[in-house]
Structure formats: C-alpha cells, structure tokens
Symmetry: C2
Subunit: 310 residues, 2 copies
C-alpha cells in the first residue's frame, strides 16, 4: 500500500487572526499570555491563528525568540495545524530556520515576504530568493502564503513572481495574503491566480467582496479584537447582517486610526483585560502611555465590545 | 593611579571602504577572500574597513554568519581597531548581539540604523530603540555611527533623534554616515552637529565639500574599487588634482549605474581578479551573469584602473 499522499495544496479556511504579541516588562515575549490569547481566539471560533505577522511585530524578534514562543504556544495546547507562522526575515538563513522549524512542528503553513532592506529589485532575484527558501527547507509539507504589504515593507510581489513560483512549486504555493488595502489589486490577483492560489485580503472591509469571489478566509489584525464579527464577514458574506458588520468594523478602525494600529490594538487589549502590560511594544514601535490609553478609552466611548457576538 | 580613561569620542579618519562581501558557490561568505580584500584595501592606504554595510549586503546574513566572518577577518590579520562594523538588524536582540561582539572584539566602532521593517515611526520610538541598544550592549568602549540611508532602508534619521541621543550618550555617539546623497541634507547635519558629531557622506562626489567643512573620512562603496582616489578626495580635498579625481569617480559611477551598484561593484572585482566567483550576491539581490559581465567590460572600455594610483 502506498504511503498516504501529502495534501499540501489545501489552503486555510476561516479567520486566522494576525496575533498580537504580548510582552513582559523586559520586552521579552510573554509566552503564557501569548498562548492564552491564541486559545481564546480559537475558542471564539477562529479557524486558526497567525503568529509573527506584521501586527505581531514578527521582525522585531530574533529567530530564537520566535522559535521559543511558537514552541511554548504549541506546548500550551494550540494545535500546530491551526497555526500559520510568519517566518519572513531580512536574511535567507533566518527565514529558512524559521520556516523549517514551523513545518517540522506540524504547522499548517508559513507566511513569507522577501527580504525588505533592499528596495526596487527585479523579479528574478525575488523568485531566486523564494526558490532557495523552499529548496533549503526541503520539506514537501510546506504550504507557503506569499505576503504582499508594500506600504509597510517597502517591497512587493508582482504577478510575474507569483506565476513563476506557482509554476515551479505548484503544491507549495497555496495562497497570497494581500495587505496592500487596494481592492483593485486584490481582485486582479484573484482574476489571475484563483482558485489555484487563494487570495486573502488584509483590509477587513474588503472581506465579503473577496469571499464572494472565492476567497476562503482572513488573516486579520482587527480579528484580535472582533474575532466573531470578522469571521462572519468571511463565512457569511451574503448574510443580511453583512452591511451592519462592515459598519461596525469600519467604525472601530476609524476610532483606532489616530493612535496607530500597533499601539491601538494593544491598547484595546489593555482596556479589555485591565492589564496595562498589554501596552508594551518592541521599539522602534511605540505603545500607548497611560495618557494615551485614557484618550483611547474616550475614543471608544459608545463602542461596546460584546464578548459573545464580537 | 587611576585606570586610563576610555577615549570613545574620537571618530575615525580616512577612507574605510564599505566592504563588498565575497561569497562561495553555496552563497556562504568566503572568509579567506573577504579578509584578503580587506587587507588589500588597508595596504592601499585606507584608514580601515567597514564590513556589513549596505554595499556589503549586511542584512542578508544571519547574526552567526556576520560574527563568524568578522572573527575570521580579525584572525587573518585585519586589526580590530581598523574595523567599523555594520551591526544593524531588524530585531533589537540581533543588533545587540552583533554590536556587543564587535565591541568585545576591540573594533573601532559600529554603524547602526534603526529597524527597517516598520516605516513612518515617531522619533521617540527610534530614540528608545537606540537607547536600549546602547544600554544592553553596556560597554563604555562603544562608538556608534548613526546611519542615514532612507532611499534603501525606507526609514531615516531626524535631527531630533541625533540631538536626543548625543545629549544622552555624548561619549558613544561620535558620527553620522549620511548616505542619502543629498548635499543640502549633509550640510545641514554638519551645521547642526559638527564637530561633536562628525558627518561622513556616502556620495563620493560630495567628499571634498564635506572635508572642507570638517569631515575627516569616508565610508564608501566605490572605495572598494578606487581606494587611493577616494582617500585623496578626503585627505587632500584642496589639492589641484581634486577636480580630475572627482571627474574620474563620477565617470566610473556613470559607467556602473546601469548595472546597479551591487552587481556592478562585484562585476568590477570579477574583471580585476579574473575570478567570476566575485559575481555572486545573496538573493533577492541579483548579480551579473556572464553576458552582463561582458556588457560591463564593454562599458568600462577606456576606463583604466591603475593599481598604483587608484
């Protein structure tokens, strides 16, 4: 009897929040709180979680810190198959080490963008980078989600790069996380590559449109705060409640915007938990101070988080 | 008798080339060739060398690779006091590890910019980053050169950050490497901070202007190829030969520009040495292929490198 075939080319479904990363007073990752946050989101119905994306300050941690925190999360009971791990790094060997560890740990997949120090590079070098990453990881179980977030990273993913990689690694390249926030860009990716490469948008207000177009999920920052609402935008895109849910998410995004996403998301966690340890971020990002937290509290007046439906 | 006072606030003098990093076939750093290249530049009269800057693809290597290559270079006879090490990284603990190692090894100083994944951050977070770096390195011998190269990194250094850091760490902050290529920006830094913080420009054609303004040296990419010419632009800024030397450097830069600086610099090394191993770069950067090397050879027709005067 042949060995069971490895089904890599199955993309994820549902909402997998781009996990916020709680920190201790010394700015080391707070493993216990990190795992508890992930488990709470899974209990709220999220399909999985995505540690070490942009929202999770992934690149602000060393390889050793990222590996240790993932191991602690899995040990605390987060199922590996419900983790997509951000394994992008400025140096190829770091991305290889992180990706190899995530795959060996049984994680569902990895979210990766190219190195982000050098800008304006040609497609051939970017394809070469991903090819070396995949070849050096050397594990047929690897599912790769290509990550496009040019407004932060300063580098982006072209159709040519996606096409070249999908053609060379059809079982490995399963999706694209498009966080550019540009609906036309996401729809052009969908037209060009779905269903073979699934497109997931980062901007929550575009989720129902992409869901109707065949997208199956979300890696979302706001899902840390509104896991059920974001999940419903993906899984019940045609529900009568969709316009109200979009308005609710849009209202929250508008209220948080003046504080900056990183500080604001952790600020909301601090308000919800009553634990100001949630305010800490790794510099050069800046968290809210106590005065900022009070301004955030004021900005959220009238927006009631419902622990059952949100 | 008191212990000898540590004189940290003495900046470097002369030309310290931003070293190209030669690679083996597997794209690991070629330690022997790296050290030989550095020793050759010192023999050509360079004040020192600068491994792992932007020209040296510093961020494309892991912490372990950067530490091992520096140790090999020192073991091969490059004096530590003639090294300024690029120790910048996306994650604070990586920058701490690299900087601590360079200082403990006796290196003259470190070239550092803030993490470069997140963009558009406020000064307070950037100051906090550098302060944590300096405090965690915790070594009074540290001389820090702040690095401004916004067109590559996507992040930059404000006067406010420099002022805050110099005021807090007067003995540690000794210089700024300004690679923006904008003369007005460099002169404004000089007006604001010299002589307490020495300004070094990356654009070679501006070197004599800054030298007359009180700058004492250069960290230069082209100095890999023209060490004596670049040194003369700094050390003999008022010489009668300065216009001819500027024209010569400008001519070379113009010929190399169409190939991209990374590919072109290594291409010239390959042409000079007859060893095409010099063509290798870490992806996503792209090196010249053999056809590109022939085009570079053609572009350099009529430009004669003089091993004695260049």
């Amino acid at each position: 009897m042949p060995a069971p075939e490895i089904q890599t080319a199955v993309p994820f479904r549902g909402t997998w929040p781009a996990l916020l990363t709680p920190l201790q007073a010394d700015l080391a990752i707070d493993h216990a709180r990190f795992a508890a946050h992930a488990l709470q989101l899974l209990a709220a119905g999220c399909g999985g979680v995505t540690p070490f994306g942009t929202t999770g300050e992934g690149t602000s941690f060393s390889v050793a810190e990222r590996i240790a925190a993932l191991e602690a999360m899995l040990a605390a009971g987060v199922p590996a198959q419900r983790c997509i791990v951000g394994t992008f790094a400025a140096a190829l060997p770091d991305a290889v080490a992180l990706t190899r560890h995530a795959v060996a740990s049984g994680c569902h997949g990895c979210l990766v963008l190219q190195p982000f120090y050098y800008k304006g590079l040609g497609d051939a070098g970017i394809v070469d980078y991903f090819a070396r990453l995949i070849d050096q990881v050397g594990d047929a179980r690897l599912r790769l989600y290509l990550y496009h977030i040019p407004q932060i990273a300063g580098v982006g993913l072209s159709h040519g790069v996606v096409r070249a990689l999908k053609s060379r690694y059809p079982e490995t390249i399963v999706g694209i996380k498009d966080s550019a926030g540009d609906l036309a860009h996401a729809l052009a990716l969908a037209d060009a590559f779905m269903p073979g490469v699934r497109i997931y948008v980062g901007h929550e207000l575009h989720l129902p449109i992409l869901a109707r177009r065949g997208s199956t999920g979300a890696i979302s920052g706001v899902a840390n705060l509104l896991p059920r609402t974001v999940s419903a935008l993906v899984e019940q895109a045609d529900a009568a409640e969709t316009p109200a849910r979009l308005a609710r998410v849009g209202d929250l995004l508008d209220r948080l915007r003046p504080f900056g996403a990183f500080a604001a998301n952790k600020g909301v966690m601090a308000l919800h938990s009553g634990d100001n340890g949630w305010l800490r971020v790794r510099p050069p990002l800046q968290g809210l101070d106590l005065a900022g937290l009070e301004r955030l509290r004021t900005a959220l007046e009238g927006f009631h988080f419902d622990p059952v439906t949100d």
